[in-house]
């Protein structure tokens, strides 16, 4: 058995938020938001000038974060975070502002690792005064920790106090605000011990939910059950009510249909949750509160509670010293259903949505004058809540909240395909994302998104462009200088862009370089010489020697160097009087110079001491400019092609420089080299010796590379232009080279004006373009096309750039059902639907809404939509060209008669599998159907042909040798196209199958994935028209997606978040195809399965549930990788290693990092990645990339252990990413 080695990398981290909190985590006045998504913990800050949330830091913790809570011990000005995870430990994290990262203050073990029923970590509650925290599990266990401060203001944590209650389930827990009395935690519990013993079921029916107060006695140091009372059986959520001086204390218990105020020995107050007044109301559905937030103001407080339809309600409490007088509820606004809501003191609301983008709103008002009906608890005193008439409100557009910023997410990500439909260098990812009416079709590209400021047509095709200031102290550029083949044009930057004639520039000749030098003068380098223009337009000219030309030039604010056609380099420097002086000697290079670069003058110095000269004999020379050894060659570097562009630029960097006193400690001097063959190199330039070392390489495109220095979000970056435009910059501490999602430029420069402070100017053809880079932290750009319902699957048209998407939503009214309801309710027949994106589609139990949409990703439009009627929902889709159907034969004859050319591809059919009246729990179904549509109108239309009933919903289908292969429940069937219906040709049925969810075919081999029973390989025997299993799996994997790597090997993912690679034994595979006798037919089943078993080659836990998997190439010129997408929005790859050396290196690095970079929440990395099955043959690249984040001394010691330098290790780690992905 051969083995494989894979390297796992996350490209796009999950974007679903599990929990979000707000607090002053960096100890400043400004409040920040911390979110937990997947295994990442992220800190956001609101930037008022940009009007958006900015990601400050994101940390991978290699564990499942289940809940987070902020707390602040008394007397501190900084909030800390408590994390409930799967590590069996309580982690208290602090954000260190200087290091922009989280560190753990405490990590206390209390139980086993993993997500278990009785190991705390599911719930967290914190005493509002920060004196204690309770961490609890779903069943039985509750632990209370006392938090305090020692004399040095460090947070201390006590040993845990137990408040366990066996055989009881916990629904919710919250800290109670009791001022400075002993801390109390309120819990919603159900005790099932009696129900477990009563066979009659009586006890189960009479089961009661209780609200229990657990008091932590700080004096006696133990927890007591203080008070317990029965609450409604359907209660689900607790909200703390301010206490002490701020309010009446107690809790709000949210339950189905209403909200109750409860407190020990206090009166009960109830208000209903109002329902929408719409004609589609399902009387059997009751509203619940899904999340809420309490906000305290100076003298007042209020709650915002969200119902399961997304409506926000404002709840206020009237109270006096005796207690609560009344509870009031009022409709506030509607926002998408959220996981958690956070209110910032500055008047903003953050809503972390369950599906789709997270929204950040500003409060316009607090609903005081909205005129909405207020429901008061004094009207709901006696009797059962269900006896009162229902409370209604009219939903409307938001009045109190205004949307400020949306954080785009791809959550949930349901299906994806990698394809190159646009013919770009790199392929795009086409994905289905989102839930319900907030779902969308995404086109994802690797690249930085830009905003275009100006695009204007010029009179000719310029060859180059520069921007220049007039004086050194100017903040903004004053001129745009354009060079044409026969002249130079100078434009002024201001309110309007106008031509400048008195600039002093020579306009009759092309220009080679423009630079503002000294205090207030300008330099123009042109083929015949140099013009030095002072502020009063006095011109000093240096002319090139007779019969020579300037071929290359480089400038900075004090130095100018030009290369002549005689291969000589002439060097000028500015003297104290602001005059350009030529150095007495010239440097003979020996080969014609193609490019030169002198870096910027370091602050506080008069010159840069290096000049890089590129020659067409494929070399780069580093020449000294120091007064002692001016124009002396320091080093030479040979290259693979002649350099077309050079730039010396220091960049922020994590690697230390040994002589860091000479340089800014966290930036390194680099020589950037662009080659004629489209390769971009970055070498470290030693600041003393001028030696080049540690070269990083990246292929950018087919055209020679040109490099320009620009600014991108306050950091110097390199704009590299080839067949695409790229930006080389530093993200966190990693060096990135990312394409711009923009036109391919030919020349560029930095640009700065009042309107656009940090921009880039470029030329493309005869267009001048000015643009800004939006966000360096997002290196993928996604285009969004909204869809109607939750997408399920998609399939591409066999040869056109079109996708067919099937969508279906459970518990939703389809348009036809809505019409029916409208026509029966007389009063509201003129009812106008609310926009579904904010308000959701009307819900109705056991109804389905489903449709098929055609999506054109290139023009971003949807040519057609077919709604399914009769409560049918689509679950599978494929395109099938039936090979030998009678219909097809007839058509072909007809077509031949018509001689219609170019129409031959239209024999493809779209096949959609649907289920009627499906109920998921308990699983019931009124039958499945297979709809057949003829693809017409160049793929942009569908014509219904017929539908065939089958006994179970068809969940997987694919074309197989000109026929249709369908997985119907436990069966696999082959259908052919008939005139009135599909005709069943062959069937395979097995007791060991539950529901076939994936099918892959190759030749005569069929590989099916079952919802519970992993994959089975089958072979189709033409001779006897039979499907025979040849091999299956030993582990019952709950397959979600499968793809073939080669004829013997598959890779796939399962419902628990694992990725695996399985391979069929070679002998078995060969025998199955060669088998012409009856060997397989008569083969004995082995242990009730196929005759043989698959071998597992690799296994890896990724946490997110894989929803699609594909073998593809992501980088032009790169190798193929396995790309997977996860439900919560993850996109990741598994890349194969090329050499054993690399495997050994990364294995070693991973082993060391497991100890040196211990995960923040205390989860053991190896156990985490092997949560279900031990990790096999996969190296965690995300862990390896943690190397760059380590402190310098730790990096050194690790590098020493690996017998390499720090740079080598970093380059190797970064190289793995650029070689395979982005």
């Amino acid at each position: 058995m051969t083995s494989i080695s894979l390297y796992s990398l996350t490209l796009v981290p999950p974007s679903a938020i599990t929990s979000s909190i707000v607090g002053q985590f960096s100890g400043r006045r400004q409040q920040e938001i911390i979110t937990a998504s997947g295994s990442r913990i992220q800190l956001y800050r609101f930037d008022p000038s940009a009007g958006r949330l900015v990601l400050i830091t994101s940390t991978e913790v290699f564990g499942i974060i289940r809940t987070i809570k902020p707390f602040r011990v008394a007397g501190s000005s900084k909030d800390c975070v408590i994390v409930g995870s799967d590590s069996g430990r309580i982690a208290i994290l602090e954000y260190k502002t200087e290091q922009t990262r989280f560190v753990h203050v405490h990590l206390e073990t209390f139980g086993k690792t993993g997500v278990r029923r009785v190991v705390p970590g599911q719930y967290l509650a914190v005493d509002p005064k920060g004196r204690a925290t309770m961490i609890a599990s779903v069943e039985k266990n509750k632990l209370v920790y006392i938090l305090n401060r020692d004399t040095n203001a460090n947070i201390t944590i006590s040993s845990p106090l137990e408040a366990h209650k066996p055989r009881s389930l916990l629904y919710a827990v919250t800290g109670l605000d009791v001022g400075y009395d002993n801390p109390i935690f309120a819990a919603l519990e159900v005790d099932y011990s009696e129900a477990d013993l009563d066979p009659s079921g009586q006890a189960y029916r009479e089961i009661q939910k209780t609200l229990t107060y657990y008091q932590l006695d700080l004096g006696l140091n133990h927890v007591v059950r203080m008070w317990s009372d029965i609450v409604d059986r359907q209660s689900n959520l607790l909200m703390e009510v301010p206490g002490g001086a701020d309010g009446p204390s107690g809790v709000l218990v949210c339950t189905e249909g209403y909200i109750v105020y409860r407190h020990m020995n206090k009166a009960v107050h109830r208000v209903p949750i109002p329902r929408r007044r719409t004609p589609y109301d399902d009387p059997s559905r009751k509203r619940i509160i899904v999340c809420g937030v309490m906000h305290k103001m100076k003298r007042d407080f209020f709650f915002l509670l969200q119902s399961d339809e997304g409506d926000l309600f404002k709840v206020t409490i009237d109270y006096n010293v005796r207690g609560v007088e009344a509870l009031k509820i009022q409709y506030f606004d509607t926002v998408p259903v959220a996981i958690s809501l956070n209110i910032l003191k500055s008047g903003f609301l953050f809503a972390a949505a369950e599906g789709g983008s997270h929204n950040f709103y500003q409060f316009v008002q607090l609903g005081e004058e909205s005129g909405e009906t207020e429901f008061v608890s004094t009207e709901y005193v006696k009797g059962d809540m269900s006896d009162y008439p229902a409370a209604y409100f009219y939903p409307r557009q938001p009045e109190n909240l205004s949307l400020v910023h949306t954080m785009d997410t791809m959550n949930p990500l349901i299906d994806a395909k990698v394809d190159n439909l646009t013919g770009e260098d790199a392929p795009q990812i086409y994905a289905l994302a989102g839930q319900g009416p907030r779902s969308s079709f995404r086109t994802l590209r690797h690249g930085l998104d830009v905003t275009e400021v100006v695009a204007s047509e010029l009179p000719g095709e310029p060859t180059a462009v520069w921007t220049a200031k007039l004086a050194a102290e100017d903040t903004f550029d004053a001129y745009i200088v354009l060079s044409f083949t026969n002249g130079t044009l100078v434009l002024s930057i201001g309110e309007t862009v106008e031509e400048v004639t008195d600039s002093g520039f020579l306009s009759s000749t092309p220009t080679l370089a423009v630079q503002q030098v000294g205090d207030d003068s300008l330099v123009q380098v042109y083929p015949k010489g140099i013009r030095h223009i002072s502020a009063n337009k006095e011109v000093n000219e240096w002319e090139a020697p007779l019969h020579t030309m300037v071929v290359a030039a480089t400038t900075n604010s004090r130095q100018v160097a030009v290369a002549l056609s005689t291969t000589e380099v002439v060097y000028f420097e500015l003297d104290e009087d602001g005059q350009l002086n030529e150095y007495q000697d010239r440097k003979e290079m020996g080969a014609s110079v193609t490019s030169m670069s002198v870096g910027d003058v370091p602050e506080g110095k008069v010159r840069n001491s290096f000049l890089a000269v590129g020659c067409d004999d494929r070399t780069v020379h580093i020449v000294s400019l120091d007064p002692e050894n001016t124009l002396e060659s320091l080093s030479v570097q040979a290259l693979t092609a002649s350099p077309t562009s050079l730039r010396i630029l220091s960049m922020p960097d994590s690697t230390f420089v040994d002589n860091s006193q000479l340089l800014d400690a966290n930036s390194t001097l680099y020589l950037h080299i662009g080659l004629y063959n489209g390769v971009y190199l970055r070498s470290v330039l030693d600041t003393i010796t001028g030696q080049l070392s540690d070269t990083q390489t990246q292929f950018l495109g087919a055209r020679p590379v040109k490099l320009f220095k620009v600014m991108a979000q306050d950091q110097p970056a390199i704009l590299a232009l080839s067949s695409r435009s790229w930006l080389a910059y530093t993200k966190d501490v990693n060096f990135m080279v990312t394409p711009l999602v923009y036109e391919g430029l030919e020349f560029g420069d930095g640009f700065s004006s009042e309107q656009c402070e940090v921009g880039i100017v470029g030329i493309e053809g005869s267009n001048l373009r000015i643009f800004m880079i939006n966000d360096l932290s997002e290196n993928t750009k996604s285009d969004t096309l909204p869809l109607a319902y939750t997408p399920r699957r998609m399939i591409r048209h066999p040869n056109r750039a079109l996708f067919y998407v099937i969508e279906s939503d459970n518990n939703t009214l389809a348009p036809d059902a809505r019409q029916e309801l409208l026509s029966t309710s007389r009063k509201q027949s003129d009812y106008e639907d609310l926009p579904a994106e904010e308000f959701g589609n009307p819900k109705f139990t056991e109804k389905w809404a489903s449709c098929i949409e055609i999506v054109d990703p290139l023009s971003q439009e949807k040519p057609a939509r077919i709604d399914l009627v009769d409560n049918e929902a689509a679950f599978s889709v494929t395109v099938c060209s039936f090979a030998a159907s009678p219909r097809r034969r007839d058509e072909e004859e007809e077509e031949e008669d018509r001689k219609a050319s170019g129409e031959d591809e239209e024999s493809a059919y779209l096949v959609v599998g649907t289920a009627k009246d499906l109920s998921l729990v308990p699983r019931r179904c009124g039958g499945g159907f297979i709809h057949v549509y003829k693809i017409v109108d160049e793929g942009r239309g569908l014509e219904f042909v017929h539908k065939t009933e089958v006994d179970d919903p068809p969940v997987a289908m694919t074309e197989f040798q000109g026929r249709l292969l369908v997985g119907v429940g436990q069966c696999l069937r082959i259908f052919d196209l008939g005139m009135k219906r599909l005709l069943r040709k062959c069937e395979y049925k097995s007791r060991s199958l539950n529901n076939v969810v994936t099918i892959n075919v190759a030749h005569n081999r069929i590989i099916i994935g079952d919802i519970q029973q992993s994959v089975t390989y089958l072979v189709y025997r033409h001779a006897d028209n039979k499907l025979l299993p040849l091999t299956d799996d030993v582990v019952a994997r709950h397959t979600t997606c499968v793809t073939m790597l080669d004829y013997e090997t598959v890779t796939g993912g399962d419902k628990f978040g694992n990725l695996w690679v399985l391979r069929c034994k070679e002998q078995v595979s060969r025998d199955a195809d060669e088998d012409n006798g009856a060997q397989l037919l008569n083969a004995r089943t082995y242990l009730d399965g196929a005759p043989s078993r698959l071998d597992m080659l690799a296994h890896f836990y990724v946490q997110d549930i894989p929803t699609s998997i594909q073998k593809t190439q992501l980088v032009p010129g790169g190798r193929e990788v396995i790309l997977y997408t996860g439900l919560q929005g993850t996109i990741g790859v598994l890349a194969p290693f090329i050499s054993h050396e690399d495997v050994d290196f990364f294995q070693q690095l991973e082993t060391i990092l497991r100890n040196e970079a211990r995960p923040l929440t205390g989860r053991d990395h190896l156990i985490y990645r092997g949560s279900y099955v031990p990790v096999k043959s996969v190296i965690d690249g995300d862990l390896c990339e943690m190397y760059a984040m380590l402190p310098v001394d730790k990096k050194r010691s690790i590098a020493a252990e690996l017998e390499r330098t720090v740079r080598e290790v970093e380059r190797k780690v970064a190289g793995m990413r650029t070689r395979y992905a982005f």
Binding site: P166, G201, V290, I414, L920
Partner: protein, 85 residues
């Protein structure tokens, strides 16, 4: 005999400490209920898994969470009468 008693005591201690530790007379119903409760708790505890169910049912995660805890009360119906067995 003393050894046997001690073993018995140790087992009882384990049973009170760790939910789900079986004994010689564990019935199928008890075992099944225990497995189901473990599974349901695992579904709730993993955010991705809860979302998976939530998307399938098209219901908010909070509703699914509460439904699953409700199910944990009696996942496999009422216990069989001891005498019946």
């Amino acid at each position: 005999m003393a050894d046997k008693l001690r073993a018995q005591q140790q087992l009882e201690q384990l049973q009170t400490r760790y939910v789900g530790v079986g004994h010689a007379d564990t019935t199928k119903h008890e075992w099944l209920s225990n497995v189901q409760r473990d599974s349901l708790a695992a579904y709730i505890g993993r955010p991705a898994m809860l979302e998976h169910f939530s998307v399938a049912f098209n219901e908010p995660q909070e509703r699914i969470r509460v439904q699953f805890i409700d199910k944990m009360i009696q996942p496999c119906g009422p216990p069989k009468d001891k005498e019946e067995i």
